[in-house]
Symmetry: C2
């Protein structure tokens, strides 16, 4: 069975106030990516991305109440090549002792994703995002929206 | 003033039982790096590393009580070129609205490091580790211990 590749392609930080959080990261020196949305601020890093996302929406995405997020208020994501890989990597996590928060399923943004917690409660997302192709080395470079490309 | 580079070079997950945590990640498909120690398990990723570290020790390193770690039970670290850059990047975080947990200082493992929390309580470490040189592109490749190098 296919197991997990050794990578984090996206770190998501749940935030209570997007304007405040964005102001902090911009003030610290970070520039948001052109593909950011009002509800999702993205930053390109070295072969991976950091995201700011509404904390309550992050809890809903994990199918837990916001006050039980725990360390899941920051999640590590592993992007996969396709849905079959998501299913395999997710199953491997449960076999290894992880606890499912939300089994992989289609999600509103057009991808396929599940969440599990490791034995210490650290929360991972395993996802396929058809809009975020991975490089051959597994790294993620955020695509620039069409309207702004060229 | 120098501000933050747009990178995470190390993700540290606080764990209550190292054997259990290591068994989970190995079972999931990850191979620990040769430079791992009994108290610190390291995994090489794409230009960055993931670490498992005792949760209580992580709290002590942040100068907080373990039961007040919050999302700081998982920390994001940015490695810098030297101590002066650590000081500048740390000061820039406070100027931008971050809250100091521990101002940068020499630490037991031979480096120099401080911790702050962003406006939502997400905890960052800013560190210089003389044993972990960064590549020109800012990526981190864990060095192999001398005894095991070829």
């Amino acid at each position: 069975m296919q197991r997990s590749r050794q990578r984090v392609t996206l770190i998501t930080l749940g935030v209570r106030n997007m304007d405040r959080a964005r102001a902090f990261y911009e003030g610290w020196g970070w520039s948001s990516h052109a593909s950011s949305l009002p509800t999702l601020t993205l930053y390109q890093m070295h072969g991976a991305a950091l995201a700011l996302f509404d904390r309550d929406a992050l809890a809903e995405d994990q199918a837990v109440a916001p006050d039980t997020l725990g360390t899941g208020a920051a999640t590590l994501a592993q992007n996969c090549e396709d849905r079959a890989e998501v299913d395999a990597v997710f199953a491997a996590a449960l076999d290894a002792g992880g606890t499912a928060r939300k089994p992989p399923k289609e999600v509103f943004w057009g991808g396929y994703s599940g969440y599990f917690a490791d034995p210490d409660g650290h929360v991972w997302e395993v996802a396929h995002n058809p809009y975020w192709p991975l490089a051959e080395d597994g790294s993620l470079t955020l695509p620039v929206p069409d309207a702004q490309a060229g």
